[in-house]
Amino acid sequence: MEIKGADLVSLLEESLRKLDKGPREENLEEIGHVVQVGDASCTIYGLTHAVYGELVQFEGGAQGIILDLQEYLCTVFLLDVHTSVAEHEVVRRTGSEFKIPVGSDLIGRVVNAIGTPIDGAGELTTKELLPIEVSVPGIIERSPVNEPLETGLMVVDALVPIGKGQRELIIGNRSTGKTAIALDTILNQKGKNVICVYVAVGQRQANVARIVHLLEEQGALDYTVVVSADASSSALNQYLAPYAGTTIGEYFRAQKRDVLVVYDDLSNHAVAYREISLLMRRPPGREAYPGDVFYLHSRLLERAGKLLSGGSLTALPIVQIQGDDITAYIPTNLISITDGQIFLDTKLFNAGVRPAVNVELSVSRVGGAAQTKAVKQMTRALRLEIAQYNELLAFSQFGSELDLISQRKLARGAIVVELFKQPQFSTYSSVTEVLQLFLLRENFLDQIPQGDVRKVALQFASFVQSVYPDLYKTIEVKAAIEPETQGALQTIAIEFMRSFAPDKEVDSD
């Protein structure tokens, strides 16, 4: 197509005519110029009225976020390090903070920290954008945590219960099953109307791919969003990812849905933030982390909670420790921020106790309020039994002869530990857990060889479900064991144990 010079001149005169009439809508854009580029960040001269956290647009197409403001200079970290930026390039303010796309379209998708899909399944059709940094709900807007979020892991649901709206930290050494607990929790939300958001920060791409494949296979991707800022992402993307995941979760919470957000893991998040802060020459503090590393996580996790208006956001942050040292800087920060922790012990893991939850160091500050009455009834004094068992176990290793009571406690503790072992991707429903705990509480498992404890307990649960479906349903609906239900269960248990082990005397006391 030939461009005529006369046409171009007339276009020019048209734009000048509009100016001459004094159009109010014609505005000057505030700009800056790049004076230094390096390390995925640029120093910009100008942008006098820019605000912290504002999104800026480079003339070459790159985008960045302002993370440092000085009198005439500001530091902008690039969202995409692969788009080149040249010195003296013009940078425009966009006038708005960084926002990500949110909406139901994200369910089943894998996106990066800026909300761009990376699963190859096409673009998002959602038009709604929300800022990643928002003010947290106030005290008046919140509701107490009183509804259980079932993880499907008996040891967690029984002893370290998590409620909807709670923040429960998962802490442990490398390869102790932290991600496994989070994934099992996600898998257990199938059919429970809970939206899950899995945020991978600094993970290997192969790991993320494996997790996505697993979620897809198990049908969990139908209610899960995966936000991935893997190890190859820039420090800025790893810094933004947890906030992006929380924003996605908050969108669903605002629709009165229950949401679970898993942050895997926040140690990598802190490292990314440290990198950004050091590049901005902020003074390093303890372990070279910046002074506001606590605020980095506290403002993230305070966004979780249950709202009076409906909807909840439960957070499961994960943190990795080195050498079982829970007194390190970031883990202690997170322990103080969250409403409890699930501590995974390497020794237990190596001894075959999986999930390797160290019950003595794990706690849920919400406690019984996040348990159904049935589970609460069945787990009364269970923690004490486990504590006594652990104490006696240490003592028994000296080889001295123990009295009969201590021996019985040891045997009982061993049964408890055995019962709480659970294979990965094999979650239990709440009623199945109650039935197993019932057997334990009523001492039906005391005569069973340790190796058969889990098999017997599971078979009892499926026996009740198939042969006594009404009773099963009653427990499920009422979420409590009433006296008549208790009596019925006793009878069924005696009958079951007789058929399972007819040569052994069944004594429910």
Binding site: D20, E59, G61
Partner: protein, 170 residues
């Protein structure tokens, strides 16, 4: 120039500006820019009495009132004369800020008539509330349209801009 040095230059420029307090002069910004460019290219050559030459050049550009002689001597004593051009630039920006002067470059795809330039300048002065001093360039890369750029503001209506926006959206 790293951040610490930039801050030092800014501090010295502010102190000098507060001391010299030059009155408004229509051509001073252009002369300051030319002076900075001259010193920058001048410093590429090795000469014996550099400060004396800097002072002589500033007199040639009628910049005595800016008192660059004081700062040049100070920088030479501290062997930091290489900061001088940046200091002059900073001084020029402080001058523009104080006297509400805006220097801009008007680029257009085709030559502008005087009337057209006046329209642009009048609009800019209305919009910014500043006195506008401009230079005009022809830039065929705009294809059609105008681009007005200063160190802190930009206005562009051109086909090149439309194409950039289109490329970004695709």
């Amino acid at each position: 120039m790293d951040e610490r040095v930039s801050r030092k230059v800014l501090t010295i420029a502010r102190a000098l500006f507060a001391y010299a307090n030059p009155p408004f002069d229509a051509g001073i910004l252009m002369r300051l820019n030319m002076f900075a460019d001259m010193i920058r290219s001048y410093q590429g050559r090795v000469l014996v009495r550099r400060v004396v030459d800097i002072i002589a050049i500033s007199k040639q550009y009628s910049l005595d009132q800016c008192r660059f002689d004081l700062v040049a001597q100070l920088l030479e004593q501290r062997s930091q004369l290489e900061l001088f051009p940046a200091l002059v630039e900073q001084f020029s920006k402080l001058y523009a800020e104080k006297h509400r002067v805006m220097q801009c470059v008007i680029k257009s795809s085709h030559n502008l008539t005087e009337t057209q330039k006046n329209v642009l300048v009048r609009w800019l002065e209305l919009k910014t509330g500043k006195r506008v001093f401009y230079s005009v360039l022809t830039d065929p890369a705009l294809i059609a349209g105008i681009r007005i750029e200063s160190d802190s503001m930009l206005w562009e209506r051109s086909i090149a801009r439309q194409l950039r926006l289109l490329e970004r959206s695709l």
